[in-house]
Amino acid sequence: MAEPKVDIKALAELARLEVSDAELAKLEKEIPDILHFVEQIQKASGDAAPTSPELRNVMRADENPHETGKYTDKLLEAAPKREGDRIVVQQVVSRKQK
């Protein structure tokens, strides 16, 4: 297959990762090199029907619930910003500024 053109900047936006200009220049060489290396799998015959004998659905019985709020404090302690029993985040949906 043809060598893909990788737009690292767009990729970083998709990954929600800020990348500095200096790092961008480095990554523009490294990432195509890595992709070029892994592309050799295109040569492998993949006709063998994928078998997944080990896969099965795993469900836990819906029983013995713990009391509400038992772990709330402990989990919230790890949050960077907290207000009562809530994690504080920046507004997600907002009106366009005039």
Binding site: L14, L17, I34, E39, V58, A78, A79
Partner: protein, 469 residues
């Protein structure tokens, strides 16, 4: 107290015979850590005070006649395994101050035994690397030559055991991360069958590849820890149902000869051949086998691993835990927190993973890799129809100098012999056998044995025969 020859089995006898107290044993290890770890940097944090408290409790258990196999045994724990209330950082800046909210299942099992936790060990950030150089807190040094890498990603755990700074340790293995550092440090490292040991409380790197396993000085000790931590866990959806692990006894080992030429240093290959000769003398028949798709294992791994890593690491977004960088919008909080908290290799994997999963490329990369993964799995299954186990080197090269492999692809190439069994889910073990010399220093070599799913006892049986020499 001479710790260099001490094993878990011996310490158990000594502790139960009251030759010394668990507290004395723990103190001996803490002293060694104080004396040696400045030069090795195996630990990110040593828990002196709590280790002594745990040792005292172990002494009480022993005095009451309630000792178990691991009561009072001082262990080191890789920094990606959660212990309630303790920092677990995966050697990343993004989790520098993160304290675990619960115990991993393996930790619960070890606590029931009354073990002593000495500290958390250095690793490649989020278990991404092959040398422990990708730690945000600086590299670990190989105890056999401190200018060289200890392997990775469980390099801190392997170095701690090799330098007598822990009697044994837990590591995690995603593509060789227990076996390769064990080989580089001259100790035993084992990756159990996928699903045999619960991953609950192990920070996920690549969920379909990760397994927790022991790093020890003897096969017997590896078996003791493995049998303590394994078992079905309702908290891990990929956990296997409980079953006996078995040993097959036809003493037939397969070697995929065609695959061994891949960039192996001649004396590393010679050490591998010498171990095969030793096994022949011990009554094994060594036969050539074909694993045609094995040559695709490394590229398949370096698609599946980053794909799963990019998915798993999306959780470190500065919202629920870990480092958070203030910014005007939530999108910028994510982007800036990750940029500030992730090291270069982690960022690289996230980007490669995002690419191979992106619409338009997922078919050619991720889905194709999954198909070839099944072909590799089928190859192994076919091979195991005629042999009990497969032998491979652990590493194509001896431990390299810290800083020598700056290019990511040259580092990826180091994983060529270890990644295949993470793809297939098979168990594998690295056993020290032979040595090579670099710059006048003797460096250990590891011999790798691979068994079919749940063939752990076969690994221990063959490993014990190598150990006997």
């Amino acid at each position: 107290m001479d710790l260099s020859k001490l094993t878990i089995a011996q310490a158990r006898k000594d502790l139960d015979a009251k030759n010394y107290f668990a507290l004395e044993l723990t103190n001996a290890y803490l002293e060694n850590i104080r004396a040696k770890d400045k030069d090795i940097h195996a630990y990110l944090e040593v828990w002196e005070a709590s280790a002594r408290e745990e040792a005292k409790k172990a002494d009480e258990m022993i005095a009451a006649g309630k000792s178990k196999l691991l009561t009072g045994i001082p262990l080191a724990i890789k920094d990606n395994i959660l212990i309630d209330g303790r920092i677990a950082s995966s050697a990343s800046k993004i989790l520098e101050k993160y304290r675990a909210s619960y115990d991993a299942t393996v930790i619960t099992k070890l606590k029931e035994q009354g073990v002593v936790f000495l500290g958390r060990t250095n690793m490649d950030e989020f278990a991404l690397g092959s040398s422990t150089e990708n730690s945000a807190y600086g590299p670990t040094h190989n105890p056999h030559d401190p200018s060289r890498v200890p392997g990775g990603t469980s390099g801190g755990s392997a170095a701690a055991v090799a330098a007598d700074m822990a009697l044994a340790a837990l590591g995690s293995d995603t593509g060789g991360s227990i076996r390769q550092p064990a080989a580089f440090c001259g100790v035993i490292g084992m990756k159990p069958t996928y699903g045999e040991v619960s991953r609950f409380g192990l920070m996920a790197a690549a969920s379909s590849l990760d397994q927790i396993g022991p790093i020890t000085k003897t096969i017997e000790d590896a078996s003791t820890i493995f049998n303590t931590i394994r078992g079905h866990d309702t908290k891990d959806s990929t956990s296997l149902p409980d079953a006996e692990v078995t040993a097959t006894t036809s003493k037939k080992i397969g070697v995929p000869r065609a695959f061994l030429k891949e960039g192996m240093e001649p004396d590393m290959l010679a050490a591998f051949e010498a171990t095969l000769e030793q096994l022949k003398k011990a009554g094994y028949s060594i036969v050539d086998i074909e694993l045609p798709a094995l040559r695709y294992a490394l590229p398949v791994y370096y698609i599946i691993n980053p794909a799963e890593v990019s998915t798993n690491l999306a959780r470190y977004d500065g919202i629920r835990y870990g480092l958070s960088v203030d910014a005007p919008t939530i999108g910028e909080v994510y982007a800036k927190s990750k940029a500030a908290g992730f090291g270069p290799e982690t960022r690289r994997r996230v980007l490669v993973g995002t690419f191979v999963l992106s619409s338009g490329y997922a078919d050619a990369y991720y889905r194709k890799a999954r198909t070839v993964r099944e072909v590799i799995r089928a190859d192994f299954q076919k091979a195991f129809a005629s042999v009990d186990a497969i032998a491979l080197p652990v590493s194509p090269t001896a431990p390299w100098k810290i800083g020598d492999k700056a290019d990511p692809l040259s580092l990826y190439a180091a994983d060529i012999f270890t990644v295949s069994l993470n793809l297939t889910g098979s168990p594998g073990i690295s056993v020290p056998s032979g040595s090579v010399v670099r710059d006048g220093k003797q460096l250990p070599v590891g011999f790798q044995i691979i068994a079919p799913h749940r063939g752990e006892e076969t690994l221990f049986a063959i490993g014990a025969d190598i150990e006997k020499k």
